[in-house]
Symmetry: D2
């Protein structure tokens, strides 16, 4: 099985200008190692955070890009997440001035707040009394835009810094291909993350080895933004500021999906979602916030 290591393969933008680092074929299973989004200093539980990190635009390194043989504009890249193997150490920190609470949290008052934790036995060991079950997820997953080079701090219709808990093992992610080879890259894995990623960096940031498999299909007719499918749900995505617009985009994407693939009229789809939509902001800290809107597949059979 091919494996893309981190060394020399970290990139800070989602870009058509990066040379491919590995080529895979549709149907092939491969592995990619990911680095911490920040805090590359972290090696042992007692390590202190190195505040001399390089800073923007050198944030959120992703590993890649991976060239997908045969991918071309008009395709959708289907990424099957087969496994997320976590490192045994992680950390979280409050980034003053970068969190969603401008009236509240600033470095001058709180100082640098961070926490290094052990990850073992399926739990994040938060404290003597608090253990949190791990729920591994990939924060950054994207393909190259046509002519732009977009910071990994940001996201968009190309994917990028989505920070969605459902980007996890067993699910599949669809991304709209814009350039030959698609140029997939991944990074920013979290052992667990609350809704909103409220302290900015944010979940339990950790290193990982990802096992992925990709397929190519014709891009679905009504697809603008990335999509996720789970065993039980369709999940549509919108990224924007303010949060209102992210929510609106996610709902609109889901209604158009229900119309194109399941035969609903738009008003029928919206009225049904009025009763059964499951929706939430998954990250509230990036340049554009992420909202997801889901429907259980069992409500799709009219």
């Amino acid at each position: 099985m091919q494996r893309l290591v981190k060394a020399d393969n970290l990139v800070y933008t989602c870009s058509p200008f990066h040379p491919p680092k590995m080529t895979v074929k549709p149907g092939e299973t491969f592995q990619v190692e990911t680095e911490l989004t920040s805090g590359q200093w972290l090696q042992e539980l007692g390590d202190d955070p190195d505040t001399r990190e390089r800073g923007f635009p050198y944030v959120n390194p992703a590993t890649g890009p991976v060239y997908i043989d045969g991918a071309k504009p008009g395709d959708a890249l289907v990424v099957h997440i087969e496994a997320i193997d976590l490192a045994d150490i992680g950390y979280t920190q409050i980034v003053p001035g970068k969190n969603p609470f401008p009236n509240w949290i600033r470095e001058t008052e709180w100082g640098h707040q961070y926490k290094v934790v052990r990850i073992a036995d399926g739990f994040v060991h938060w404290s003597e009394t608090i253990k949190i079950p791990v729920a591994p997820m990939i924060g950054v997953i994207g393909v190259a835009p046509e002519i732009e080079a977009i910071s990994n701090a940001d996201n968009g219709v190309h994917g990028g810094n989505l920070d969605i808990q459902e980007v996890t093992a067993g699910n599949r992610v669809l991304l709209p291909v814009r350039v030959e080879g698609a140029l997939l890259h991944v990074g920013d894995v979290h052992a667990v993350q609350g809704d909103g990623e409220l302290c900015c960096a944010g979940g339990i940031e950790t290193r990982s080895a990802l096992t992925l498999r990709v397929e190519l299909i014709a891009a679905p007719q009504a697809m603008t933004w990335p999509r996720i499918e789970t065993a039980d749900h369709l999940l549509a995505i919108g990224c924007a500021r303010p949060l209102d617009d992210a929510f609106r985009i996610a709902v609109q994407e889901l209604v158009l999906w229900m119309e194109a693939d399941y035969g609903f009229s738009q008003p029928e789809a919206l009225m049904l979602l009025g009763q059964v939509a499951e929706a939430r902001c998954t990250q509230f800290v990036n340049p554009k916030f992420t909202y997801v809107c889901k429907i259980k597949k069992r409500y799709l059979s009219q």
Copy 2:
């Protein structure tokens, strides 16, 4: 058991100027009947919506107010929801121009879109093939402000049109008392509601009989907005536009609650919420949107 009927007891504002319609004592269990938020015409499955409704400000009638013996400013009113008995018919409709999708849904294009449904056997009977389990909830629950009279269409620190699914049987709602007797009112019951109440009116609107019990306690130190407690969760609330501010308020309320009642420092509380917060917008259609932020009680024992 005392029971407040609908007739002559519907009000359209949360206001200190309404005369009390019933007086109850702390600890007493009582019942309140509620009317449909709109569509009072609805009696049978085949009924057509009467578009000649009175319109703003005569929307979202609530039943009350109920005078709570002994309630005074500085108290919190604890409302235990013992039961929500639903009618056997309900409806939902898309209100053009009042829904959260201004770019998309307008009367001139879609016409008046509504759906009348049967409620039976624990299900909303949506169509031949789609049945949705009922999850009854109270949309409007509030106490009188000190000198303002606030439309039932709106919400605020007094409660009002919150539209939160967790305002349901088995849970308790805390409301900050501003005037003698508190002047509680309730209405706008839904048989089920998706996140966002996306078509405006919105969930499955239906009539109900509520069984309630109230207590009085000193208002908790860090409480500004209403709170909900369930068997497993603390739930904090924020209402604002844009949605961003509603989310911020809900998180801040929860952090202050964790600090005051469970001994967390503010940074510790926020970092923990970064991993375990469960948060979402419950309604995205009222003058101020509602966001809730929850934490499982099992994470509160440091």
Copy 3:
């Protein structure tokens, strides 16, 4: 000339529940005294601010209401502002946590920041070297809603805390009448105010004596929000959060006005405004922000 004094005539809500304090006839010129929005302690240049003010909801006192003989729902009340006579002292202050810069200005860091100034010879005497020409304006002007009682801190289609510099001598303000007698009230006069009223309270707050005259007309067909007419401009108003929605409302009101009264089609009106609109946020601190959109009358003759 009738004159409504401040004593016993200050109110904190725009409300149909206040008894009228004076009755005037259409065409009649009358005077109203106004109090400081906060800082009623202020008498001399050396006075210290009394931080023990009552706080919300007892903010932004207005003088009134004035009953307009013959006013009825469906009318528009035209208020001609004939003169604004300022006191010789005023002040401004930064209200921590209430200003538009939550990431920046908080009491714990800046302390209570205020400035008392002398008003004389047509100038605000800011410092030894800085003199600012006075530009007197009325911050609060409103009529009673139908069934709500709305805090003077807020604004809406009834007017209220608009904080628009063009509410000044020589101009006229149109307000939609909702109850018999209209129940006009006014207050919160500023000697001068920058765009945004950026420190919250905000302009140079001062006492005043207003000379007003009112007329009644049938409410213009396309009028939802208050309007202002100056010698040279039509000015439309929108109040909302976020600021985007306030701007949208103001533009839409102006397009509908140009359509109804000047024969433009909606696209023609919007394309012309694309070239000649003059628009800005006048206050950025109240519960709903105010945006105004203006067009020079000389562009209205197609």
Copy 4:
């Protein structure tokens, strides 16, 4: 005098990856021709718009980049705008779904709305009766980011699609240099533009020849965003969504400027702006909106 023609020199991103097209020295005066932002089809008054334009990301072509001899990261590039020579024809159009009024203007209802106009004698000849004085301005002006390639549709701390009326002859624009040579590009000239650029494309779009001169200085200490200086004003800029954040950024930039260069404390600066700020949204249609905040230089001498 060097002159950069349009042919072969149009670019669609602000990017460090474009090869320089011309090199100039500080102090040198040079010319740059600019193309229409869209509607390159437009040649004569009777021309019909070609709706087969390429669409995103091929929008808002700028001419460049121009390499500035000696420019390096840490510098500020000062662009003196010496002249803007307009073509004799221009146009404006309403872009459905891209304008700021999502509830209102859509192609299906209004059709494609555009207007081609003659520019002569210092006026835009709008109709038989309406003539609008020209007020030429440069819509797109920017320098290359460090590692990103940002669409000309967007803007940011690098400049880009700012759409500010004060980017006009006689004024100077400061831009923070991020790469060697700065890589300046310009385009999107308007003969006149209303506040908000309300129909999207938006002002009177026209071709032009620009006469520019550049200087290099050390980047001012408190400068994050581009700045403009006019004969009478300092002008600070913020770009963001929602509009609220754009306004906040612009005010903060101006306060920091007043502190660093004119000796104000931050509270003094903000309180003075509370009285004399002149601020407005100049464009309300791009991915990030632009707000400007100005102060008259005569208020800067404490």
